[in-house]
């Protein structure tokens, strides 16, 4: 190549130019793929008579759902079915996340226990749960356990208050009476007083150094005040207990077996992962930290509270929120056992009936994406605030 043309083409070797060309090519490819896909989709959908808009949202659904937190009948629309499904998914998440956290932390602490047997038992639990597919666990609990329970007439009863049969788990349903508002008011007042006391105790400790038993006082308030109200004005709640009527149990709070299996499976499964996260977090705090705390005269409880746990929580929180997201995503396995969650209702029944696959899947995935991104943003804020500062 002669020098003149070499110079003309030398800009090709410029890194920025190359980068620009690369990106333009990539955008072009993505654009071409997208256009091709959309073009084919429209042709195929028209050929098969599949609706291309969102008109189906207001069509009558025509099917029943056996668990709906808002009013729903088979005359409701597909749109309303969507909301029912979404609420059912959120219901599972709201119940499973706290339970899994409690169980997971308990097992994690057991794993860290100096008692060899306890730590081994916890290890057996986490090993089994982490190496078994969640679907297998769900099918086991649903088919082998819950469906194999006796019928309503031979329900297993716990103290004649809680009943278990193949139609579900029946818990006592609290029904408010006149003193209920006072009771709730007492609980709120007790909580507010406990917080106020804690703030005052902190102020006093800063000023004079004396410490106060805030936990005991808070417990006394939260248990004592409502008890006083109950004694004075009578019980705030009456429990509606399920009773056999004909072939079925009536009354009480019925937890359908699908929901019981899903929650139980999700909680026991995720708790094993949370336990390992807790264990890893606590072990990652260097032993020198608790030694230094001990050397300063802090006893084990204070050392845990002021030095080890604050550092461990920073390490535990990101993977913990990741597990919470997994609970939300794994609840979609509801489709295998018939629990009416978002995927089962919307991406299942509604998609089959309307054949509007693109729209239905887009909406469903968008819901989960919004949840995931919201949690990711919250986690980023948390990290920015609480990461240990370095140079």
């Amino acid at each position: 190549m002669d020098p003149a043309s070499a110079k003309r083409w030398s800009w090709l070797n410029d890194e920025r130019a190359r980068g620009l060309i690369c990106q333009i090519l990539l955008l072009g490819c993505i654009g071409a793929l997208a256009c091709g896909a959309i073009y084919n989709a429209v042709i195929n959908m028209r050929a098969r008579g599949i609706p291309t808009g969102f008109g189906f949202w207001n069509d009558v659904a025509g099917f029943d759902i056996n668990l709906h937190l808002i009013s729903y009948s088979n005359l409701s629309t597909y749109g309303q079915a969507f909301w029912v499904g979404l609420l059912n998914t959120l219901l599972i998440a709201v119940i499973s996340i706290p339970l899994a956290t409690l169980l997971g932390f308990a097992i994690g602490v057991a794993r860290l226990s100096p008692n060899w047997l306890l730590s081994r038992f916890a290890l057996v639990y986490t090993s089994i749960m982490r190496n078994t597919p969640l679907l297998l666990l769900l099918l086991f609990w649903y088919n082998s356990v819950l469906k194999a329970l006796p019928g309503p007439r031979q329900s297993i009863s716990v103290g004649d208050v809680v009943f278990l049969n193949n139609r579900g788990l029946y818990l006592p349903m609290p029904v408010a009476r006149e003193s209920a508002p006072w009771f709730l008011g007492a609980v709120l007042l007790a909580a507010a007083l406990a917080i106020a006391f804690r703030l005052w105790a902190q102020w006093r400790q800063d000023r004079t150094g004396t410490q106060a038993p805030t936990v005991l006082v808070a417990a006394a308030l939260i248990l004592g005040l409502p008890a006083l109200v109950t004694a004075a004005l009578g019980a705030p709640f009456v429990f509606d207990i399920a009773r056999l009527s004909g072939f079925n149990l009536r009354g009480g709070l019925q937890v359908i077996p699908e929901m019981a299996a899903l929650v139980f499976g999700l909680v026991t499964f995720t708790a094993a992962f949370i336990a390992e996260i807790v264990r890893a977090g606590v072990l990652a705090v260097p032993i020198g930290q608790s030694e230094a705390a001990g050397a300063l005269g802090l006893h084990r409880g204070l050392s845990m509270k002021l030095v080890v746990i604050p550092q461990a929580m920073r390490l535990i929180t990101p993977p913990l929120t990741s597990q919470y997201l997994n609970i939300v995503k794994n609840s979609s396995l509801a489709v295998f056992i018939g629990y009416p969650d978002l995927v089962q209702i919307f991406a299942g029944t509604v998609l089959n009936q309307t054949q509007a696959a693109v729209q239905v899947m887009a909406i469903t995935m968008a819901v989960y994406l919004v949840i995931s991104l919201a949690v990711a943003m919250a986690l980023n804020l948390f990290n920015a605030r609480y990461t240990l500062k370095g140079r």
């Binding site: 980068g19 690369c22 990106q23 990539l26 955008l27 993505i30 091709g36 896909a37 084919n40 989709a41 195929n44 959908m45 050929a47 226990s113 100096p114 008692n115 060899w116 047997l117 306890l118 038992f121 090993s127 089994i128 190496n131 078994t132 597919p133 969640l134 679907l135 297998l136 099918l139 086991f140 088919n143 082998s144 194999a148 995503k329 794994n330 979609s332 396995l333 489709v335 295998f336 995927v343 991406a347 998609l351 696959a357 693109v358 899947m361 469903t364 995935m365 989960y368 994406l369 949840i371 995931s372 991104l373 990711a376």
Partner: protein
């Protein structure tokens, strides 16, 4: 003072305080109550032989292993024709050999093994399993495939094809070009943010719509595409971790020697990064193997679905059949996954020693 031996160990680990003593007693009591029952159910009281459910219906206090033994072929091959099952065995055997070759840390000529595994083996497997009129192998429709071999097939295909895709995504995510970076991040966050089932539904329902009529993808290919996409996103994060843990010095040394980007990546960075993430890749494989249980939702018969079908056989109806089936499936998955996890921990230890 007892300062050595079993008694001292017991004192320190089991009875170090009053609370600890209570816990120890409780655990021992629980184990003494549960373990003999479980072991007896699985061994001494179990039914090992029989051609139908009658024996198991008679003795309901033990597992019905006879059921599992009778159904074993179906659980392994699904409805794959009897005469052609040797093809499945051949594919599994060759695959196992190649995997051992690849993962054995001291094996000779591992790059040849990698080429064979990632390029030649998929083609061979496809031809053998599906059949080809050219070679005189009768065609076996994917509808008939089922059982353990489908679970293994989908998991292995998932890992094999998602690894290169994952590496590309990881490199793209670290790129300084904004469009490339944005596209990679969007892909990864999208796939990781939605449940696996929705990806399967998307692949199953949407893929046929997005391609021309004539290319309609096969019923097994669609969930496979979904599996590959899903696994690639998680693989990308593993590889990214590996790339990040390499010190800057490696990049700088390579550049100082005059290596351009592709050569630096291929000769210096990626070999190190990928070796670092082998344990992570194996973990991904374990997770993927367990996730393949979900493909039954789009009509593919994996091992768990095969078990579900087997349980429904009226010849074997009985109260212990379902429990036996599920327990066996659980044991199978546990042994496989736990075994792979231990191997991965072993490799991690070896790599850590080398790094010091």
């Amino acid at each position: 003072m007892l300062s050595s031996g079993a008694l001292a160990w017991a004192r320190a680990n089991l009875f170090s305080s009053i609370g600890s003593t209570f816990v120890t007693v409780g655990c021992v009591a629980l184990a003494a109550y549960l373990l003999p029952q479980l072991v007896a159910w699985a061994t001494t009281r179990a039914n090992w032989s029989g051609t139908d459910g009658a024996v198991c219906r008679q003795h309901q206090d033990g597992a019905c292993w006879a059921f599992v033994i009778a159904k074993w072929d179906y659980l392994r091959f699904g409805s794959y024709p009897l005469a052609e099952r040797w093809r499945v065995d051949a594919v599994e055997a060759i695959g196992a050999l190649l995997i051992v070759w690849l993962l054995w840390t001291n094996a000779p000529r591992r790059t040849w093994g990698a080429l064979l595994f990632f390029v030649a083996y998929p083609i061979l497997a496809l031809v053998l399993l599906r059949g080809s009129s050219l070679l005189g192998l009768p065609i076996v429709d994917t509808l008939l495939w089922g059982g353990i071999f489908v679970s293994l097939l989908t998991a292995v295909v998932g890992i094999v094809f998602s690894l290169p895709l994952g590496v590309l995504l990881a490199l793209g995510r670290r790129s300084s070009l904004p469009v490339v970076r944005a596209a990679s991040v969007a892909f990864i966050e999208f796939v990781r943010g939605v449940p696996f089932i929705t990806i399967l539904f998307m692949a199953n329902n949407l893929l046929p719509l997005f391609v021309p009529e004539a290319w309609a993808p096969d019923r097994l290919l669609r969930p496979l595409a979904g599996i590959i996409i899903f696994s690639a996103a998680y693989m990308a994060e593993e590889v990214r971790g590996g790339l990040q843990s390499l010190t800057r010095g490696q990049y700088e040394a390579a550049v100082a020697l005059g290596l351009n980007y592709p050569r630096m990546m291929a000769l210096v960075i990626l070999p190190q990064a990928l070796t670092l993430v082998i344990p992570g890749i194996v973990n991904n494989f374990i997770g993927l193997f367990m996730d393949t249980t979900l493909i039954s939702v789009v009509g593919v018969t994996d091992f768990l679905e095969a078990m579900n079908n087997a349980i429904k056989d009226p010849v074997w109806a009985g109260p212990t059949i379902m429990v036996t089936g599920y327990v066996f499936a659980g044991i199978f998955y546990f042994v496989f996954c736990y075994g792979m996890a231990r191997y991965s921990a072993h490799v991690e230890r070896i790599l850590a020693k080398g790094r010091k």
